[in-house]
Symmetry: C2
Subunit: 110 residues, 2 copies
DNA sequence: ATCTTTTCTCTAGTTAATCTAGAGGAAAGA
DNA sequence: TCTTTCCTCTAGATTAACTAGAGAAAAGAT
């Protein structure tokens, strides 16, 4: 019941997933590792959230997938950002900046 | 269906409400006005979210209410931050900083 | 006087994202 | 052979926030 930083994740997961795919094609597990690694203990994306998010994003045409092999020779589904997804990422990035700016303003000024 | 900054609000509403009550006792409508005023167009708290949030926070012992009169002579329920609520606010503030810091890191580094 | 707007509280029902708590499978390492 | 690591996926529950109102009392407008 303890509140963790993850409880704030709502609405932001899509953004960071899209962002993670901007630089290179990755598979689900790789996205998770990468995000957790960068954020360290501050927040962690779990698989029960990530995979539904990937399906959602693909359904909306923001990413597309194809099966491939990792360096280790294991099967993995690789996700690639589409043009539409790239635009969406920019939109969500702007929203995030607007939102977090407003929150910080309120926290400062009220 | 258009995504607005409000969709990111989840998990943050409680924090900004508690914060708004830190400096002074306010009634629901006053909290809404104050927040909307500071955030301008960046985000707006609507009543269908705010009043349930106030009930929730009171139930959890973070705020307590009492009926009073505004300067205009209207009935209004005034909310006051409790000690427990004040501690909770500090906790949530720390979580917000941790969370938004992590998100910004990911947006920058991935 | 009546009508509309403003101030103020509150709720029912819906939506949808996330979490918990797994299952399952294939390759690598012990 | 056993365990660990890598990798994908899902059912069901939770719960916050939204939509779309109702209602009531005071003030302002005509």
């Amino acid at each position: 019941m303890a509140k963790r930083a993850n409880d704030l994740l709502q609405g932001t997961l899509d953004l960071i997933v899209l962002r993670a795919l901007q630089s290179e094609t990755r598979h689900g597990w790789g996205i998770q590792q990468r995000i957790n690694q960068i954020a360290e203990d501050a927040l962690s994306v779990n698989q029960g959230s990530l995979y539904p998010a990937l399906l959602r994003l693909e359904k909306r045409g923001y990413i597309k997938s194809s099966w491939g092999r990792t360096e280790n020779g294991r099967r993995a589904k690789y996700y690639e950002l589409t043009k539409k997804g790239s635009e969406q990422m920019e939109t969500e990035l702007a929203l995030w900046r607007q939102f977090s700016g407003a929150i910080n303003l309120i926290l400062k000024e009220v």
